[in-house]
Symmetry: C2
Subunit: 349 residues, 2 copies
């Protein structure tokens, strides 16, 4: 038996079948743990497969089964700490369940998001995990998926649609807590730096901010709302705007840490003391928040876990374990992490 082909030809189930004097069908069954296959035969098949260096041809299999074991992921940008954590979580789960991830970036534009969706559609992903771009208005570009019944799960930046599940944290409540905290620290004129209001995450955070104010009898002042793209540069610009406010605000709640940190630094540079003059709260618990001085109070946003949950939910649905059609929203735990940037009553180190 000199079958150890050192050459480059691929071993197929036919080769195994021939070698074992059985049919390809049985080999296929053996390799796929089909119940109706003799234990002995199965063992023989497995051994021979290993010996011959067989590897299953995913394409042939996919072609037959009409399933790809591939999950599409579309995110605004890959290069933020939060997104990396999310993807990392997804990869972990997908990998351990035999799924592959293919990843696309929308670069915050609806156009690229649509193009990416089309690519994913053409590569026939089994399901889609999406966090929406900054300027996406509708989800028409996903209708191919919905029409075909391909599951579509949103995370973080979600879209409310009866046919899609969303995985989020309670942004409203988190923002309310953040704002409450600032108020408790004595802040009365709190600036809120927010993002595009099309996106639930920013709209909900603004909502929570407003609710906290009114709940504690403070008046909402739209002049204190700064809508930006939440970039580092936007933080610097926001600082400029804040400095020109009269009277000076005594608190800032920013919808993300990168922006909060650059704003904080710019204000410090301008001689404003944090938290004494202005107390700060950010959002995300980015590593930056533990480096800036004073350390930034922020909302811990479990990115890795969100990635795991999103991927696991999708995979469970695909495997028929759990049906997500009845699940509208999954809410993950988040919590306020209090650090020096917001502590005013003697607590700061």
């Amino acid at each position: 038996m000199e079958l150890l082909s050192t050459g480059s030809k691929e071993v197929t189930i036919y080769d195994i079948a021939r070698e074992l004097n059985i049919s390809p069908a049985t080999v296929s069954r053996g390799l796929n743990d089909h119940p109706a296959v003799n234990k002995e035969t199965k063992k023989k098949i497995e051994n021979m497969a290993k010996e011959m260096g067989y590897r299953s041809n995913t394409f042939a299999s996919n072609l037959r089964r009409q399933r790809t074991h591939t999950i599409g992921v579309i995110v605004p940008r890959l290069n933020s700490y939060f997104m990396s954590a999310v993807i990392s979580g997804m990869e972990k789960v997908a990998n351990s369940s035999g799924f592959n991830l293919i990843i696309g970036q929308s670069l915050e534009t609806a156009t690229k998001e649509a193009a990416s969706a089309q690519t994913m559609f053409n590569s026939r992903v089994d399901g889609l995990l999406v966090s929406l771009a900054y300027d996406t208005d509708n989800i028409d570009h996903f209708k191919d998926f919905l029409k075909k019944g391909i599951p579509l799960i949103f995370f973080d930046r979600v879209f409310n649609h009866s046919q899609c599940t969303g995985i989020i944290i309670d942004n409203f409540k988190a923002a309310q807590e953040a704002t409450n905290h600032l108020i408790e620290q004595g802040c009365r004129r709190i600036v809120h730096v927010t993002g595009n209001q099309k996106r639930n995450v920013y709209a909900d955070r603004l909502g929570g901010y407003k609710y906290a104010l009114s709940n504690l009898g403070l008046e909402f002042n739209s002049n204190l709302i700064i809508e930006t793209d939440l970039s580092v540069e936007a933080g610097v610009a926001a600082a400029d705007q804040i400095r020109r406010m009269n009277p000076l605000p005594d608190g800032v709640f920013a919808a993300n840490d990168a922006c909060a940190v650059s704003c904080l630094l710019a204000l410090k540079q301008a001689g404003i003391s944090v938290p004494h003059d202005i107390a700060f709260v950010g959002f995300n618990n980015d590593p930056l928040s533990k480096v800036v001085e004073p350390n930034l109070t922020t909302v811990n946003y479990p990115g890795h876990e969100m990635g795991e949950v999103a991927a696991q939910t999708l995979i469970n649905h695909l495997n028929g374990t759990v049906n997500i059609n009845n699940t509208n929203t999954i809410i993950l735990r988040s919590e306020l992490v209090i650090r020096g940037s917001s502590i005013r009553n003697g607590g700061a180190k």
Copy 2:
């Protein structure tokens, strides 16, 4: 012509062929820009394809062509700023060339790296882009790829092998420059915080450090070398070790920013002044470096660009544009970014 099937059946080239009264082969050619196809026919095919909502079946195509248009990427971890930037660059290039990326994390272990490689091999990626795990000793787990002639390109953490191209920066020179800079600033006892010496990046940086010392007539002292895993925690531990040194060092060159920053902060907390008592240089130009006070002098490491170059090189090779078999190493530009943490002669703000 009532062919606008609202149903769920997939449209194939046969359907298009039937509708147009031509052969499936011609349809295939038309859709693939085959030169020998009438312009008119081609246009007709394209229109009909669009009208009928045709989408190409990648599996059938892959099965035939034995090419997957998929690139495997294996990285130690997804959740660092540097890696995110790399992946982001790869995605951009891959996407615009019609390639998909599938991504695996080794979580810094050779075992998971091997498992990931196996998965990629089984999904028949056209090529592999790899940055090695912390403890990988050899590349036996990639030999399947080499045997089959599947191109394997290393980036950042490379392995010197005649059959693989590596994409790096000149770590030796960058480290030499960093060390020179510290010496110019008057430092004479410079600690170097490094990583596992199996990895070129850390070994080369140590090499550059040593070379700079000897070049300027300073003696190398192995007590000043701290080998760590370069994590945030390791930075804190390194700070502890540094504080106990007698005499106290006057400079620290760390092989990555996250570690440098946490070390710097821990030393500051202990009452040591940076840069006055100890000057600091990091590596990577992580966003953290612009937030820590004083801002960290560091080596700008073009992650996004490295991702682009790696992906483009691989794709060019796959497309036959460029053959990488003769290319051993591609070196990207990097440069020292001087900030407050290392400036001692009155320059600091």
